[in-house]
Symmetry: C2
Subunit: 358 residues, 2 copies
């Protein structure tokens, strides 16, 4: 049976990417060797990382003073690396607390300098994106989380800022066009829209580097990766290759504008059903609804049907729809690679379920 993969991450990847990835792991380009056993200093991987860097710059429209780096350790590693590389102990960074991951980023940053939290939606269980805060001119940077995977909220507009933005874009990276110029640093774990778990992309503007006094171990100093083109030591070869395959797929499918169009269409279909269907309701402020992670619950009077509905989704080959324990209910992650037909299958089941049980 065809599976519909609604997992929050690691998440669905384009079908042709997975097919190609499987071939490369068994026998890379028919050369009689697996990509898993090829030297990262050889011509094959050199070509891979150079194409990946060039495609990332092209697709994102990055100006020349931005570096594309391939690290590992996930966004959680960036929670400490960003302040460690950017913030002196007597300087202040501003953070917006829009979800669990933003909150973790704040905690890690506090060990490296002063942190001012400009706004938080924590008291309302992160059901909306904080807005209307004033950004001080004397902070080193403003840290944002563009999409909150757990709570299903997304920043549809970035604030005009007098200081560079530092942004965790893990869960909506490459899902829409974003003007890179206000951003001094963007980071994203690959395992949503880009590739498998195991690599983390860091995009950093040249002027952000070299302004802190503290000692930085080589492997947590962004400049090491800039200087060595992400090849100071052995990088996560296979995750980077699969990311390249996805970048090619994005380009072929209309780039970030194409992704945005697909994502808007899919999200509209699902949110429309959530709003129409008497059994279900959304959990977030309507204007902050994420196009990536769609969170919804049963209306209170139907709460007892939650498990039954989840069972039916599984029987229909839908996986990963159980909501995060912080929200409950359901979460449909509908990243770039999710086909409209899978969203339609979910919507059809929701409508049918309501007819039978409502």
């Amino acid at each position: 049976m065809k599976k519909h993969n609604f997992s929050a991450g690691p998440a669905i990847l384009p079908a042709p990417v997975l097919k190609e990835a499987g071939k490369a792991a068994a026998n890379y380009q028919g050369m009689g060797l697996s990509l898993l056993e090829l030297s990262h200093r050889g011509p094959e991987f050199t070509a891979i990382i150079e194409e990946a860097n060039a495609l990332m710059k092209e697709i994102m429209g990055l100006p020349d003073d931005y570096h594309v780096l391939w690290l590992s350790g996930g966004a959680s590693t960036q929670f400490f690396m960003a302040p460690m590389n950017l913030l002196n102990s007597d300087e202040t960074a501003a953070y917006v607390d829009s979800g669990t991951w933003a909150n973790k980023a704040i905690k890690e940053a506090k060990s490296f300098g002063n942190v001012t939290v400009l706004a938080s939606s924590k008291e309302q269980n992160y059901t909306f994106i904080p807005k209307g805060y004033k950004i001080p001119k004397d902070v080193k940077y403003l840290h944002l989380t563009s999409n909150n995977t757990i709570f299903g909220t997304q920043m549809h507009k970035f604030p005009k800022s007098p200081v560079p933005l530092v942004c965790d874009m893990s869960s909506d990276f490459l899902s829409r066009p974003v003007d890179p110029k206000p951003f001094g640093l963007i980071y994203a774990g690959a395992q949503k829209n880009l590739g498998p778990a195991g690599t983390t992309v860091v995009i950093v503007r040249e002027d952000m580097l070299g302004t802190v006094q503290r000692h930085l171990p080589s492997m947590v100093d962004y400049r090491t990766f800039v200087k060595e083109n992400s090849l100071y030591n052995t990088p996560p070869v296979f995750p980077i290759y699969v990311s390249l395959l996805t970048l090619r797929w994005i380009k072929k499918n209309g780039g970030l504008k194409g992704m945005q169009r697909r994502n808007k269409t899919k999200a509209a279909i699902l949110y429309q059903e959530i709003d129409r269907n008497p059994l279900f309701k959304g959990t977030t402020a309507v204007e902050d609804r994420s196009l990536m992670n769609v969170c919804f619950v049963m209306e209170e009077k139907y709460a007892a049907l939650e498990k039954e509905f989840l069972k039916e989704t599984e029987a229909h080959g839908m996986v990963g729809l159980k909501g995060h324990r912080s929200v409950g209910g359901f979460r449909a992650s509908i990243y770039n690679a999710m086909p409209k037909s899978s969203v339609q299958a979910l919507v059809d089941l929701m409508a049918d379920f309501a007819k039978r049980k409502g």
Copy 2:
């Protein structure tokens, strides 16, 4: 044509492992989903990491107070994480400088505490393993590098130490039985004997943890990985899975005793030819010759033939034989997965080449 993969790393993996890895990347266990798109919190990956931990403990014979952790960032990340987690700024750690990587480990450690280098073979271009040094009783740990990939030397015996050993085993991990009890910490990048690039195994004894005063960011604190069973955040799923496949292969092929037998046989065939053949000579002290990375050069009077021989190896489907620039000549990496037949093919070519050119 069948390829003989002599790469130093990422390196050859067992053929059945690569086949299975390719299948998993395309469609994991016939479930209609790729392993690359499965949640790390789902039952499939939970089973993978639990089996990998159990198999690692079984194969290595680890006592109960040792933790098996799956990190990323390579051994280069452990160069700073080990002292950061183990060494207070007023304490001293002892290091043995046996090669390029040991040297980098020393440099990183110096930022966290006092470092005393007990012995070094640097002046002799790391052609031997330093021995006979006295280990002070008042150092926190002694750091060793069990095998030097670049120079082709290996510690065939570990010194009796009054303090815990901390060891970079990247390039001979799981290649022979090792009594774990003298070791407080063992680390190894996967991409030699274990799996593809992208995960790093850390084996740490419980009593080594929690003795430093400095602040540790969550992602560089070993205790985070112990507490969360390597699942504090999304781990490198696919590299860990391929490592599990290799662990199963090791168990099936006689465990570490079986690996040692294979490795001794292969290395003996190659070193015997190097010593017999008038065109070639080894580059290291005979007693410290590595069973993993066999370094050799042309005798001076035949030096002009180096490029020609390298070309012939390539024409015979042998890849990765060019020596590291620090040594020159040739390096045959013959890790666990390298079949005897590939070593024999190289030896046959060396003998034939000598007949024609000698």
